[in-house]
């Protein structure tokens, strides 16, 4: 606040204000305006010319736009009210109810936002007069003097701090931060156990029965009276263990024994029943599709295709290795059991696999 209006009785109060209160008694408080920090409106300087026009050129057009904008805002209001009503009216807890609630809430919500958006857009485009202002753009680069001053200040600070002059301090400080930089790697170590050999084996062991995955029923060769489709099986006792099943899932397919050809290991089959790992050797999706006429096992993720009659060799796709074959036989009661674990790691390739 300046004292420019020196002719007025109170400093800082311009002439006009002062004249409005001519008879001020000494000792009584000054009018409120006298104490405001803001400069009052009536300044001696003429106001700067407007940059923005105050009204659009065509008043009739503007009137129509005004009505339309208001109508849209009213629509948004109604939509908002409808949203609250829909929340109270439509109950969920059933598929049908959820569907209706979703429509009620969604439509009203969409109406609110779209009407607000449309209203605001029409407001800008048809109610506000069109303007185009031009602003100067200055180069990003600072003036040379400023850059020089900065460089000097920086160098001065570095000099005063002794950081440059005293290498002992500098080097020990740098050394002090080195363990700090490595520490997070150690802290993250306990995120999980080391893989060690765990990827090489599954839970399959000699004598574990093959049970049908969904029914948990042990299987006998007699269950496959004729060649047919593919069945997913689990090692008995592990069917609900996700970590075990992620590696141990197996598919079995029944062929006529003469259909099976090398490299299928015939000693690992029972009556033309052959068991392969279900975990794709590409990236581990379950190879779940089987085409009976062509004996092809297909992984639906990336279409690696395996020939079920030839030891699940890769016919097409990005997988590099056949699905490992599980050695199976029958126990004394005639149920299918494993002879041993897989003879190679199942699932996708990894560095230590070899």
């Amino acid at each position: 606040m300046t004292d420019s209006n020196s002719g007025t009785p109170q400093p800082g109060v311009p002439e006009g204000e002062a004249r409005a209160v001519p008879h001020r008694v000494i000792g009584t408080p000054a009018p409120a305006e006298a104490r405001t920090m803001l400069r009052p409106e009536a300044e001696s300087k003429p106001p700067a010319p407007r940059e923005l026009p105050s009204d659009p050129p065509d008043p009739r057009h503007a009137k129509n736009a005004e009505r339309l904008v208001s109508a849209l805002f009213i629509l948004a209001f109604l939509g908002g009210a409808a949203f609250i009503a829909a929340y109270l009216i439509f109950q969920v807890h059933s598929v049908e109810g959820t569907l209706h609630s979703n429509w009620g809430l969604g439509i009203s919500m969409s109406v609110v936002f779209l009407a607000l958006g449309a209203g605001a857009t029409i407001w800008v485009r048809h109610l506000m007069p069109t303007v185009e202002l031009t602003e100067e753009r200055h180069p990003m680069r600072s003036a040379d003097a400023d850059r020089e001053a900065f460089a000097e200040t920086f160098a001065e600070g570095a000099d005063t701090s002794q950081f440059v002059k005293r290498p002992l301090v500098r080097r020990t400080l740098i050394a002090a931060t080195v363990p700090l930089a490595i520490a997070p790697i150690f802290v993250l170590r306990d995120l999980g156990p080391l893989p060690r050999k765990s990827l090489n084996t599954t839970v399959w062991r000699k004598g574990i029965r093959l049970i049908e995955y969904t029914t948990n029923r042990p299987l006998t060769p007699a269950d496959f009276s004729s060649p047919g489709g593919m069945i997913t099986v689990a090692p008995e006792g592990f069917q609900d263990d996700f970590d075990a099943m992620a590696k141990a899932a197996v598919i079995i397919i029944k062929f006529r024994p003469e259909q099976l050809q090398p490299p299928t290991v015939m000693n690992w089959t029972v009556d033309g029943i052959v068991a392969y790992s279900k975990i794709c050797t590409h990236v581990g999706c379950p190879a779940a599709l089987y085409e009976q006429t062509t004996h092809r096992i297909l992984c639906p993720c990336h279409q690696s295709t395996f020939d079920a009659t030839r030891g699940a060799e890769v016919i097409f796709g990005p997988a590099t290795r056949p699905l490992p074959q599980l050695p199976i036989t029958t126990d004394s009661q005639g149920f299918l059991i494993a002879q041993s674990d897989f003879h190679e790691p199942v699932g996708p390739s990894y560095w230590e696999r070899g």
């Binding site: 920090m37 803001l38 923005l52 109950q91 969920v92 807890h93 059933s94 598929v95 609630s101 969604g106 919500m109 969409s110 609110v112 936002f113 779209l114 607000l116 958006g117 209203g119 605001a120 857009t121 407001w123 800008v124 506000m128 303007v131 185009e132 202002l133 031009t134 753009r137 990003m140 999980g192 156990p193 080391l194 893989p195 990827l199 689990a234 996700f242 970590d243 099943m245 992620a246 590696k247 899932a249 590409h282 990236v283 581990g284 999706c285 379950p286 779940a288 639906p300 990336h302 279409q303 097409f316 796709g317 990005p318 590099t320 699932g347 390739s349 560095w351 230590e352 696999r353 070899g354």
Partner: protein, 580 residues
């Protein structure tokens, strides 16, 4: 009047404390240029805000736990089924929380829109050259945001622990395992042991709701601050130069427009969430490592990685008991690495090739940078082929073409299509430049045929209007590089142009700056500019008419332009610009 006084009171009180009057006054009048493509970034910003709002709502009900529960709830088809708490709580959000399904679907649609808008925005920036100096840092921030958005999306759609997203996680695990030397360790550390374990959902949850959004928010803040501080670029037009910004002021114009646009974005995602079902996890069922459904597709932004895995031949080395699973880690890391690294290096490579260290605030029209546009389209088609291959099973089904045929087509197309695209795009750009030149020389055809006294028929043309002419003429003149090895014998090559590197630079410069010269033979507007800056790039508004007039007088008919457009050039002068 009382409102006015109240506002003044509040404003005064604030200014007393924060000294904002001058700065905020500038803020209110700050000019924002306008172009429809500038809205793409705004869509990304507003989808992110919608994601924050709807995501917060979802956290109130979602339980990021892999503890097994038996479901008994409103979705009766799954009653009695064992599932993780994460899946069960997602079912509850969908069927037992009013508005839960709507918010979940808005969240998912907004996520797709977020990535789509980022992609479109990035393409706009690239094709208009808006990444050029001084905006390289903002380009890099944008690329980081794009990568973070992909990661955020992957974690987000994996959280419900359904069968579809579980397949995605399994693939993630397989990809991690395939990385040489550290792969199995990475997988075991991420999953807390063997796959699937019991910690991956809570871990992804905290990354998805806290760490990555915080990074995104911080980078968006930096992104917007730089955009604000360096001022927005503008598209060429009348009165728009490299040293000004033409547009509407923030208050009230830009504020109202951008507010309206937020409402539109929210409205459209709400509309999609109302009528277009997305990620119906109750149909997929809870995750188990044995099951999978055929024809399963990830969200669209993961499609190119999926296609990349599908297209790859089965290559693998086993060396000294160690496996190099090229069939997995190459397709998983290479395409994204190529695109992101290439995009990150491009602004600097372009600066080096062209030697252009000037600030650029006036955007290029894509046709005026034919090589850049061609390279961009090459990347787009490279991505596009991978993306389509990611849906090869769906395509095979719909087009009734064998699956393996599609993959083989894609394996060839990934090399051929981008290459053809480069050539064709460049031809199109050069053709469009000639068309622009033709318009400048001959004007717009009016359809009026007139017979001359000699009996000859001519078609009348009228010159293009000022606005269009400003657009057509906007093209920064490439800077000449220092003379290289291939210069005249008596010229000593500049140090930076010597040797193999210098020759490569010179050759790349020729390719990169290939254009149909605006200052063609007989072109009425092609006046020799002393400023070496080009029209529309320097002081277009005032200097423009003199240039035009000077051009007619100094029309240098004898000098050869490119040859291709030289033949028609001389006619243009008479009929095209009668007012000159």
């Amino acid at each position: 009047m009382s409102i006015d006084r109240a506002l003044r009171g509040v404003g005064g009180a604030l200014d007393d404390r924060f000294h904002g009057a001058k700065g905020f006054r500038y803020l209110l009048r700050k000019v924002f240029p306008d172009h429809w493509t500038f809205l793409l970034g705004e869509i990304a910003l507003y989808s992110f805000i919608i994601l924050l709002l709807t995501g917060t709502f979802l956290t109130f009900f979602f339980q990021p736990s892999m503890t097994e529960v038996v479901y008994h709830g409103s979705y009766t088809h799954l009653n009695g089924v064992r599932m993780s708490q994460a899946y069960a709580s997602t079912l509850n959000i969908s069927f037992d929380v009013r508005g839960g399904l709507l918010i979940r679907q808005i969240h998912h649609w907004a996520a797709d829109l977020f990535v789509a808008a980022i992609l479109a925005h990035m393409l706009r920036i690239f094709f208009t050259g808006a990444y050029r100096k001084p905006r390289e840092a903002n380009w890099l921030i944008g690329l980081t945001l794009f990568t973070l958005a992909l990661l955020e999306g992957l974690f987000g759609y994996s959280l419900p622990d359904d069968l579809l997203s579980g397949a995605g996680l399994r693939i993630t695990e397989g990809v991690l395992q395939s990385i040489p030397i550290v792969g199995t360790y990475l997988a075991f550390f991420l999953f807390g042991g063997a796959y699937p374990g019991t910690v991956i959902i809570p871990r992804m949850y905290i990354l998805h709701v806290l760490l990555i959004p915080a990074l995104i928010l911080a980078l968006i803040t930096a992104h917007l601050f730089l955009m604000f501080f360096q001022k927005h670029t503008q598209m060429p037009g009348k009165g728009r130069t490299n040293t000004n910004v033409v547009g509407a002021p923030t208050y009230p114009y830009f504020m109202a427009k951008t507010g309206a646009f937020f409402f539109f974005t929210f409205g459209v995602t709400a509309l999609a969430a109302t009528f277009a079902q997305i990620n119906p996890i109750w149909l997929y069922g809870p995750y188990n490592p044995v099951g999978i459904s055929s024809g399963s597709q990830p969200d669209f932004y993961m499609g190119f990685l999926e296609g990349s895995l599908r297209i790859m031949p089965a290559w693998q080395w086993v060396v000294f008991g160690h496996t190099f699973a090229f069939n997995v880690f190459i397709p998983a890391l290479l395409p994204l690495g190529l695109i992101i690294t290439g995009a990150a290096l491009w602004p600097f490579l372009e600066q080096w090739i062209t030697g252009d260290k000037r600030e650029h605030h006036l955007n290029d029209r894509p046709r005026n940078a034919p090589t850049r546009t061609a390279i961009g389209m090459t990347a787009v088609t490279f991505y596009g082929v991978l993306w389509l291959e990611g849906a090869n099973d769906v395509l095979a089904d719909h087009l009734d073409v064998p699956l393996y045929t599609i993959t083989w087509i894609a394996r060839i197309a990934i090399f051929v299509v981008p290459w053809f695209t480069y050539i064709i795009t460049k031809r199109i750009c050069l053709g469009l430049q000639r068309k622009d030149l033709h318009l400048l020389e001959h004007g717009v055809e009016t359809g009026i045929i007139r017979q001359l006294p000699s009996g000859e028929f001519i078609e009348e043309t009228r010159p293009v209007d000022e606005e269009a002419r400003a657009v057509l003429e906007s093209r920064p003149e490439p800077l000449p590089l220092p003379a290289g090895d291939d210069a005249e014998r008596d010229n000593v090559p500049a140090p930076s142009m010597r040797g193999t590197v210098g020759r490569v630079r010179g050759r790349m410069n020729k390719v990169l700056t290939e254009s149909v010269p605006l200052t063609g033979h007989g072109n009425g507007y092609g006046a020799p500019h002393g400023d070496g800056h080009g029209n529309g790039h320097a002081e277009l508004g005032d200097g423009h008419d003199e240039h035009a007039r000077a051009g007619v007088q100094a029309g240098r008919p004898g000098e050869s332009g490119t040859g291709e457009d030289g033949g028609s050039g001389s006619q243009g002068q008479g009929s095209g610009q009668p007012d000159n």
